[in-house]
Subunit: 388 residues, 3 copies
């Protein structure tokens, strides 16, 4: 059958093709063998073929049109997917969690099996000029960027910043739908910044939940030579009624369930920096999440780490923590070490090892394992990343 698949070039429609009118097809396929193990009563281990141990798997389409006079229009459509099963990834249409109807195991499995491709990673149209860029659609939230730029593991895989696993940032911690964003132009002597407002799109009828899922975020930074520093802050509104959960259930943080039930605005602030010494690039990042539930909960994260070039490869190392101020003061600490070996600019082999240590009742575990409260969990992966 494969022989009958005559592969054909994507050719120009006659007379239309020109340098400034192009579509770029791009993507990443990243698959790894991953193992996780827990400890203590009721713990379990897991072996999997996982996605995204190093980079996020995706298929995308993007292009830019030169409008003349220094102006341009562009689009970016990027779909995440799981190469281990071929399924796509869900998006979120209103920056809110579905109300808490429990799904049975069969429905959860069907939902996973049937998940089609969406442009969940990014779906935007932009107008740009010397004054900056106006961007509309679904995009990363500004306060997310520090989490990935100043994490040696780039928010992917078993080694990533513990804030990504434990954080109280909720639905808009990474991306927001229905967003209007503005980006400063690139010629400000290393100074960069962006602002974003996003809408929950509820009917305005006087209900206390009418602003649920609406919010804004801002990020400002400065990069020059070996230095890069940035600060970001955001607020997403949620009523305290609990009708719509403000944050996703984050298993392993004792405070999470209480927060989820209570709702309330979510404020996230972070600051990060890196310095490239040549022999190594050092990184540090601090995060503060606050959920204004009836009894407010604050979560604090920190990371220090670095990237060390080594021939055709790179060593990655990080130590990160996250804790919340609920009664038991749950806390998780992670140490991670990894190596990436580049076979080419497009293809790399990698391996990562990480261990998380829990206290205060926390039950964070790695690579799908489960661990008892206050116990450790260990995870590792071996993978391949191929981009096109």
């Amino acid at each position: 059958m494969k022989k009958s698949l005559v592969a054909l070039a994507i050719l120009a429609a006659a007379g239309v093709a020109s340098a400034q009118s192009s579509v770029t097809l791009f993507g990443v396929v990243d698959v790894a063998y991953a193992h996780g193990s827990g400890s203590g009563a009721g713990s379990s281990s897991k072996s999997q073929l996982i996605k995204n141990g190093y980079n996020s798997s995706r298929l995308g389409f993007r292009g830019t049109e030169d409008l003349g006079g220094g102006m341009s229009a562009s689009f970016w459509l990027e779909a995440g997917f799981a190469p281990d099963s071929g399924t796509g990834e869900a998006s979120n249409t209103n920056n809110q969690n579905p109300s808490a109807t429990a799904l049975n195991a069969g429905d959860t499995q069907r939902l996973a099996n049937n998940q089609g491709l969406t442009f969940n990673r990014r779906s935007t149209v932009s107008l740009a000029s010397g004054l900056g860029e106006l961007r509309l659609g679904r995009d990363y939230t500004p306060h997310f960027w520090n989490q990935t730029v100043f994490d040696p593991f780039g928010t992917n895989g078993v080694g990533t910043n513990q804030t990504l696993n434990s954080g109280l940032g909720g639905v808009t911690a990474v991306r927001a739908s229905n967003s209007v964003g503005y980006f400063l132009p690139g010629n400000l002597g290393g100074f960069y910044g962006q602002f974003q407002a996003y809408m929950g799109e509820n009917n305005k009828n006087g209900a206390v939940t009418e602003k649920d899922g609406s919010g804004s975020s801002i990020r400002l930074g400065w990069a020059n030579g070996p230095v890069n520093v940035a600060i970001a802050t955001s607020r997403t509104k949620f009523a305290r009624t609990g009708a719509v959960a403000a944050v996703a259930a984050t298993p392993g943080n004792v405070g999470a369930a209480a927060v989820a039930a209570g709702g309330g605005d979510v404020k996230s602030t972070n600051i990060g920096g890196s310095y490239d010494f040549g022999v190594a690039q050092l990184m540090a990042l601090a995060t503060r999440d606050r959920v204004d539930s009836a009894t407010a909960v604050t979560g604090k994260g920190a990371l220090i780490g670095g990237l060390v070039p080594l021939g055709a490869g790179q060593i990655r190392v990080a130590y990160s923590t996250y804790k919340t101020d609920t009664a038991a003061a749950p806390k998780s600490k992670k140490i991670a070490l990894g190596y990436v070996h580049n076979l080419s600019k497009r293809t790399a082999l990698y391996t990562t090892f990480a261990r998380v240590t829990n206290s205060g009742g926390a039950t964070q575990a790695l690579n799908g394992a489960t661990t008892a409260a206050n116990n450790r969990s260990t995870g590792y992966d071996f993978g391949i990343k191929h981009s096109f």
Copy 2:
């Protein structure tokens, strides 16, 4: 991470590429800020980032193969999507509504969040010759075309023909799955036409509902110089048992719920025309929908409007109405005014203002607002459309 996305050309498989063997990738990204407001007791307003204020957002793949002797084969796969959230759009597999199992709010939200890309807009394979085109798959129904060709707002956005919002045309009002279509060739002196039959694909076992979702549609027209006129008619079969709802719930038309419960065949007929005076193109359109439920319901729609070129842009204006003959005689009237400013052939900025007025118990509202019976609703949008 973005830097690692090495964008690569889609190159010809050696020796296979030729002028008549090409695939074209195409699309539209259209996003707008939209606001709608209602009036009267219990009304609500809404602010959103919406899709498709001017053109429908889509990603498509199409191509034509020259078979020699005047014959050709072609395919067209076109997926609609929502750029504000990156989600895809559902299709319909049997031209029937799902039976009326109410979904809870959580499941409705999950369904929206998880909606993947489908080729819901068009999914066809064709054989063409000097005798016309035979087309198989999912396609627009013939009687839909007059609704968009003779509407200055092209069935998109807040200004569109009120028949699109209120109409009783049901599942096949725009497209049908499982269709076989025939198109007249293009060399008939301006005369054009198409016929389509589509199947509901139920098991034939003597049940009264065995033909539900099956039907046919025909459109004939004539275009010459400034003149374009066309007429179309269709019939989609549904038993009167109510087991399968004949028409979607159309909130705002008092008759709709009764019709949906009763089932019965749906017949839609329309006639439209336009004349291009140069300074303006005038359009008019009349529609008649009849649902053969136990107590038959007839809906009638009308539109008059026009397009006025203005420099690099275009003014769009329309007045449209829809009413049904149920007891209270619900009726909605809409007036709409818009302007499109083309930044290039591919990119445009646009704005639209519309107001709908209800009587006879109708509750039609614009841009996601809700309005009390017999009250007005106002909506507007500002948007950008970019095609590739």
Copy 3:
């Protein structure tokens, strides 16, 4: 609107394009009119526009990167879809059936209408060298290949091998997710082979079901001149608890329901061969499926058939059977005859006729019809296949 879809070439990102760095976009659109009829009490017939009467409809992206030194990296992302409705196809994330929560008719229809595109057909990344290919992701299982290679109807359409319709092979009969595969290199004098291990990815916690969906498969063959022979065997693990059904419900085999309820490992073994006499290619295939439920069930399939070149076309003929050893010994026999007429290398018209005869309580029926136990069912199709 279509006119505004400016079709643009996919151009090289400057300086990146080179002969060994390409992405190929490919696909098939295959649609047919199909009719099936049953006989006996309660039987029903069906007329449909179906997908995949000759080849499987798909849209795919693939490419290979030369890494130097005889090594290469490649990816393959291939999404199946239904051109009659534009919907995608579901994948399976853990090689297990969803637990048996019955869906109501409305939810089943919604699931079908909303099914987005997934890379269900294949989603892999590979590293290859002179020593063979290592392939990770979702792929065909090795033991599937004999079913399609030695079936004149290639596992598509009404004429296909009865084992495909009746078989007890379960979720991994065609493909597996979470797989690691190894392929022998191509220079072994006609000898070929592949091995695959796949994971069910359950938590390892001592539960009897912790290995459900994990398994392995191997295929070895020899092709030289007119001869091609191959043997394959596989085992997928399932506990006998019935918590996770080992095989999908296969209506028409009396033994299937009992097997599904009981669970237990699924072992499938098959052997096939073909010889090309020039005037015709003959094929034969034998299959044995065994489900280790509390009372084990064995299913046996057999096929003999051939392909006869005829001008620009090909005649296809096959006789196939499947039976299980449950009490009543249900058995289904199918005779099928088809003709494919190639309009070009990419486009073909085809027609197929098939009849299935049941005994021992079997109720197998063709093209969506239903038939009474021990009765016959007849089906035919007329279709068009277009590849790009």
